[in-house]
């Protein structure tokens, strides 16, 4: 019986990543390697102004003085930064000059296959999408509809061209290029991502989303996203990502910056499903991401929700700086690791303003031989009177060869602060699974039920369409994890 179930397990883990296909398009890839000429070339291709090239070069020079961080609970193989190509453009068509509005049907087909139709009449109602493949934004839907309300939603390249002043004012204002090794690298070579500006008093009428896809081989994706919510505005933003199954590892180092002004609210949700590598740990995306938002204005609110199921290695800490008085921040996370995946993820809540409140709910699920760590910092500065934080970190283990770790840091400089931390570790037992089996529920379904029950609190924070997807994804990611 044991043997049979192993065969079943193998079959499942091999077929489970359904986004692993590649798209055959003519992609313009620049030569591998990184130096100042490459940065100049990227900047030129994107027709960037001088100040931005300058920004990139400063970041690059700083990056050269840095070493890869080693403090995370991860074992990261040596990365040869000269073996990667830093720019791949799949929209360059062979047949002559292209019309700007005309998208290669192959690319449209790819996004259709991923469940992200880019024709507006076919799109999910109430959701505008910016579709990014490799280094370039393929198409942004509902741009004009949103513009009528003054909302800017476009690719970063377009924002640099059309809304240069806004970009210049905020780019690097939340995550400076000196922030960390990968932030410096991203600042030097970043390509497309999304730009969002919600004007004063506007409630964005639809969900905005960016879908990131890595396609080309031996390239890295270095997207950059900037969201600005002006006074009294609201936006809910979603991010999804997938990549083909390849034997080599692929590097993804992104930066997301969010600025929330007076009484504005931003909800940022991620369903991260980069290729995690195969059951033997071969291949998969290295996901080194810096995400940070600042609650700049009074009574502003920022909420991060993430469902992390993909990537071979995840290094990611979506954080909030609560500088406006009475501002609120939330971090809700489910991180799943299976097979040989490694994740070191969590958040930082930096309380600066008075009466600021933050909530952290982290649910780690480890299976196979994976390692899953929560790492979080709560800092309350001297002036942050009456700051409140509540943290809850739960770990769920499936099987006995995986690891779950919790690294909570607290740095409190104000006596009026109230900081609470709770942590639990639990395990799905054979007895629970058998109990379900006896009631006619298969082991796979039972794991799905238990895991979704465990992650409910976080899943419920996602917008409806994503919540359903995320539930399925959780079950699929863990298929075959209990043999």
């Amino acid at each position: 019986m044991k043997k049979e179930s192993n065969k079943y397990v193998k079959g499942l883990t091999q077929e489970k990543y359904k986004y692993g296909f590649t798209t055959d398009v003519n992609t313009e890839v620049i030569e591998r390697g990184l130096n100042e000429d490459v940065i100049r070339l990227i900047s030129k291709k994107k027709q960037e102004p001088e100040w931005l090239l300058d920004f990139r070069l400063r970041a690059y020079r700083y990056w050269q003085t840095m070493d890869m961080p080693t403090w995370a609970h991860l074992s990261i193989p040596e990365i040869d930064y000269q073996a990667i190509s830093y720019y791949a453009d799949p929209t360059k068509r062979k047949d002559g000059p292209k019309n700007l509005d005309e998208v290669d049907p192959e690319l449209l087909k790819t996004f259709n296959k991923l469940g992200i139709p880019l024709e507006e009449q076919m799109a999910l109602s109430g959701m505008a999408v910016d579709a990014v493949m490799d280094s370039v934004s393929v198409k942004t839907t509902f741009k004009e509809t949103l513009m009528e309300k003054g909302i800017i939603f476009c690719s970063m390249s377009e924002a640099i061209r059309e809304h240069g002043d806004l970009v210049k004012m905020y780019l690097g204002s939340v995550v400076g290029y000196r922030d960390n090794f990968f932030a410096a690298l991203n600042s030097a070579v970043f390509s497309d991502g999304s730009f969002v500006y919600i004007p004063k008093g506007v409630r964005c009428p639809m969900e905005l989303s960016t879908y990131f896809r890595i396609n080309a081989a031996n390239t890295g994706q270095f997207e950059r996203t900037l969201i600005i919510a002006d006074d009294d505005s609201y936006v809910s933003y979603l991010e999804g990502c997938t990549a083909p199954m390849r034997d080599e590892n692929q590097l993804h180092a992104a930066i997301v910056e969010i600025v929330v002004m007076n009484r504005a609210e931003v909800k940022y949700s991620t369903v991260q499903n980069w290729y995690p590598g195969d059951a033997e740990g071969k291949g998969g995306v290295y996901n080194f991401v810096t995400k940070r938002g600042i609650c700049k204005g009074v009574e502003s609110k920022l909420s991060w929700t993430q469902v992390e199921t993909g990537s071979a290695i995840t290094w990611k800490y979506p954080s909030c700086i609560l500088s406006g008085d009475n501002s609120t921040a939330e971090f809700y996370s489910v991180a799943v690791t299976n097979n040989f995946q490694q994740a070191d993820t969590g958040t930082k809540m930096i309380h600066i303003g008075k009466n600021t409140r933050s909530t952290i709910v982290s649910k780690g699920i480890s299976a196979g031989r994976s390692q899953n760590s929560y790492r979080g910092l709560v800092r309350v500065s001297e002036k942050a009177d009456n700051a409140r934080n509540y943290s809850q970190c739960d770990s769920l283990l499936l099987g006995s060869q995986c690891g779950a770790h919790t690294f909570p840091y607290m740095d409190i400089h104000n006596e009026t602060a109230v900081v609470e931390h709770e942590a639990t570790t639990s395990k799905i037992s054979e007895d629970q699974l058998f109990y379900c089996n006896q009631r006619g529920i298969s082991t796979e379904d039972a794991v799905g039920l238990i895991v979704n029950g465990y992650a409910k609190e976080v899943i419920n924070k996602l917008p409806m369409e994503f919540a359903v997807e995320a539930q399925k994804l959780l079950s699929v990611s863990l298929e075959g994890s209990v043999g």
């Binding site: 629970q432 006619g440 298969s442 379904d445 238990i450 979704n452 409910k456």
Partner: protein, 250 residues
């Protein structure tokens, strides 16, 4: 309904069942008694396909099918139910969600369409009354924070929902006070039809006062050593097992 022939089973290499023969017909209630460690729980676990046990010899036919070749979930779909001696808690999974999955998986197996949410809730309300299960419990996570009595009532509630052909009650009376015992036993009796059968594993006569067995077996050292009518249970209650051991020449 159920025919067990020369069943041998081991756990961690140790043989617990050493040649069980048992036939249960439709509509019958069989009681299995015996001293601790004689293999009663092993027998029920082996029948429902617990992965920790290995069948080394023998056959089990259930409703004409080779039971041992089916997965644990399919044995349930075929109409086999075990009321656990120690029901486990499953935090985070609501009873409603759990039962809905179970009922619909069974329906899928039998080629029936899934119940809609309202059909399901109606069914759940109806069945809850059979064991007087509080509606609050139905909204909680599976068995989480249930008292011993509530857990057992919940087992019979699930039995009512799944309408099995053969139910095995593994020491369902343990840990129950008299009132809970009566409710649970009455629940089982209400669910009985001429087409369904029951195997009751117990140490005590008191459960059999409520659920009347047609046949009583004594399981000892992995074998059924004595089979008789309901009077056997009364005799065991009065005299214990020593006389049986003596009969066996021990």
């Amino acid at each position: 309904m159920l025919e067990i022939k020369d069943l041998h089973a081991t756990i961690n290499g140790k043989e617990i069942l050493k040649g069980i023969n048992l036939t249960v017909k439709s509509g019958e209630v069989h009681a299995i008694m015996g001293p601790n460690g004689s293999g009663k729980s092993t027998l029920s676990n082996v029948l429902v396909g617990h992965p920790a046990y290995e069948v080394t010899k023998g056959t089990v036919t259930f409703d004409g099918k080779d039971l041992l070749s089916l997965s644990a979930a399919d044995r349930s779909h075929e109409g086999l139910f075990l009321s656990f001696q120690y029901p486990v808690e499953i935090p985070g999974v609501s009873m409603v969600n759990f039962m809905r999955t179970a009922v619909n998986e069974q329906r899928k197996y039998r080629g029936l369409p899934a119940l809609t949410a309202s059909e399901f809730l109606k069914l759940m309300r109806k069945k809850r009354e059979i064991v007087e299960l509080d509606s609050k419990l139905a909204n909680r996570s599976v068995n989480e924070g249930f008292s011993g009595g509530e857990k057992k009532r919940n087992e019979i509630f699930q039995m009512a929902m799944l309408e099995p052909k053969l139910s095995i009650l593994d020491e369902t009376d343990s840990g129950l006070d008299i009132d809970a015992l009566r409710i649970v036993a009455e629940g089982v009796n209400k669910l009985k039809t001429p087409e369904t059968s029951c195997i009751v594993i117990t140490h005590y006569q008191r459960l059999l006062d409520y659920i009347k067995p047609d046949v009583v077996h004594v399981l000892y050292k992995g074998r059924i050593v004595k089979t008789a009518g309901p009077e056997l249970a009364l005799e065991l209650e009065a005299k214990g097992y020593d006389w049986i051991k003596k009969e066996l020449g021990e």
